[in-house]
């Protein structure tokens, strides 16, 4: 049988015993327990109220800071800071705003406090921006972004190569053309010509040669480019290069095969692509020519690309492997 007062719970009984909170029956049982366990008797155990020894208190200011702000209160020294914060938060009504400002006027010592809170409004730094917004987007917009990026990259490539070719010499084809072949005349766009001294010189040279009835070889022209042929309808093509500074006046630029019956000359090829630079500003204008032709039973095919002084071509004969030059 478990005793009512035992070694596990005697301490609880002890406190009640000292405070005279035990019933008569429990008191007798507890005293009997202590008699049987004299080593558990606490001689120094004294119970005194602690409230008189407990001195830690919050200051009035600390208590005030714990309170929730209530605009119903009258503005005073204890809550003026709360009202100042509320004012700058924009949550004070007209009446309370007037009361606060009047209070600060009455007690100018609080004006510094008022100004302090005015300064601590945070402002976003708009220079901090997220740089990869497009990567977050979904659907067609994202695809369009990649497409536009691709086109922009291609245009940048074209501009870059155009910029590389700063020399303005126009190397011409050695193909002869008939006088009626208008598209084979050299021309220069006005604005394009005026962009650099070299180009101005070239136009002057062109005009000079035309005046002297020199035949002029051509490269393919931009449809938007002014056609000088209009000035000289009887002009015939020649193999003479355009710029006198070119030491190799008879140097062929576009590779051709002497046997024109079987090989398609580049001048006969189609131009599938409009001149890319026609939409660019004048200062970026360069001669660009792109031609292609499918091989036929009797003639070669291939393609030819020229951007400024840079050129590349490949030809394919009807029954031969592709050759590059």
């Amino acid at each position: 049988m478990i005793e009512k007062v035992n070694i596990e719970n005697y301490e609880a009984y002890y406190l009640d015993y000292l405070e005279n909170n035990l019933s008569d029956e429990d008191r007798i049982l507890f005293e009997l327990f202590l008699k049987n366990h004299p080593d558990l008797i606490e001689d120094d155990l004294i119970i005194e109220p602690l409230s008189e020894t407990y001195n830690n208190k919050l200051s009035l200011h600390e208590k005030q800071s714990l309170k929730l702000f209530s605009s119903d209160e009258k503005v005073n020294d204890f809550n003026v800071e709360q009202f100042i914060i509320a004012y700058h938060e924009g949550i004070l009504d007209q009446i309370k705003t007037k009361e606060l400002l009047t209070f600060i006027q009455q007690y100018p010592i609080y004006s510094n406090l008022f100004n302090s809170y005015k300064e601590i409004k945070l402002k976003p730094d708009y220079t901090i921006q997220y740089s990869s917004k497009n990567a977050l987007k979904k659907g067609k917009t994202r695809a369009l972004y990649y497409f536009v990026s691709g086109v922009a990259a291609m245009l940048a490539f074209v501009i870059y190569f155009s910029q590389l070719n700063q020399q303005k010499s126009v190397v011409v084809s050695t193909n002869t053309t008939t006088k009626n072949n208008n598209s084979n005349l050299i021309s220069a766009k006005k604005g394009f010509v005026n962009s650099t001294t070299t180009y101005v010189t070239k136009k002057q040279l062109i005009v000079e040669q035309i005046k002297n009835n020199h035949t002029i070889d051509t490269i393919q022209s931009n449809e938007n480019i002014e056609i000088i042929q209009q000035e000289n309808p009887n002009l015939i093509a020649s193999t003479q290069p355009l710029l006198p500074s070119n030491p190799n006046k008879n140097k062929s630029v576009t590779p051709t095969n002497k046997n024109e019956n079987t090989y398609l000359s580049f001048s006969d090829m189609k131009k599938p692509i409009e001149v890319v630079t026609q939409f660019l500003p004048d200062e970026y204008q360069k001669f660009i020519d792109i031609r292609y032709a499918k091989p036929t039973d009797s003639k070669q095919g291939g393609f030819y690309i020229k951007i400024g002084d840079f050129q590349f071509s490949r030809k394919k004969s009807p029954d031969q492997n592709l050759t590059s030059r």
């Binding site: 914060i85 938060e89 406090l113 302090s116 300064e119 921006q129 977050l136 987007k137």
Partner: protein
Amino acid sequence: MDIKEYNKIVDLYADNIYRFALKHLKNEMDAKDIVQSTYLKVWEKHETIALTNGKSYLFTTAYHLILDAIKQDKRMTGDEGINEVAQSSNHAYFDLSETLNWALSKLPEIQKTVVLLRDYEGYNYAEIGEITGISESQVKVYIFRARKALKDVLVDKDLVL
């Protein structure tokens, strides 16, 4: 919210979310991760989110992700941050905004959050409470405490008139 509306909130609020995350985490890579994770979560539930709620949903999501990131990095400062702000520092900050940013970084996370949402995004107390999951009255308490802590730093550094 359809794709078009989703892409619209990317344009409108990606910078805001990034700034918000950066102020908390002080690390660009972590802040960018938060932005990506936030928008991913929003996209996953875009069909149930109206465009008008997009911004608050973004900030709510970002806020919780930031808290998770902070717990992971063990950067929680706790309430002792209040005292830390009030103490003088050895940092020689003479510029007001620089000092404010420093003081802001020392605030407890919840106080930093409510002040940023209030000043950066212009949310009212009820909206801030919705985002952070605390009551409106508690938001006011945090705002007031944060303002006081920031003011104490400025006064300490004689940066106010």
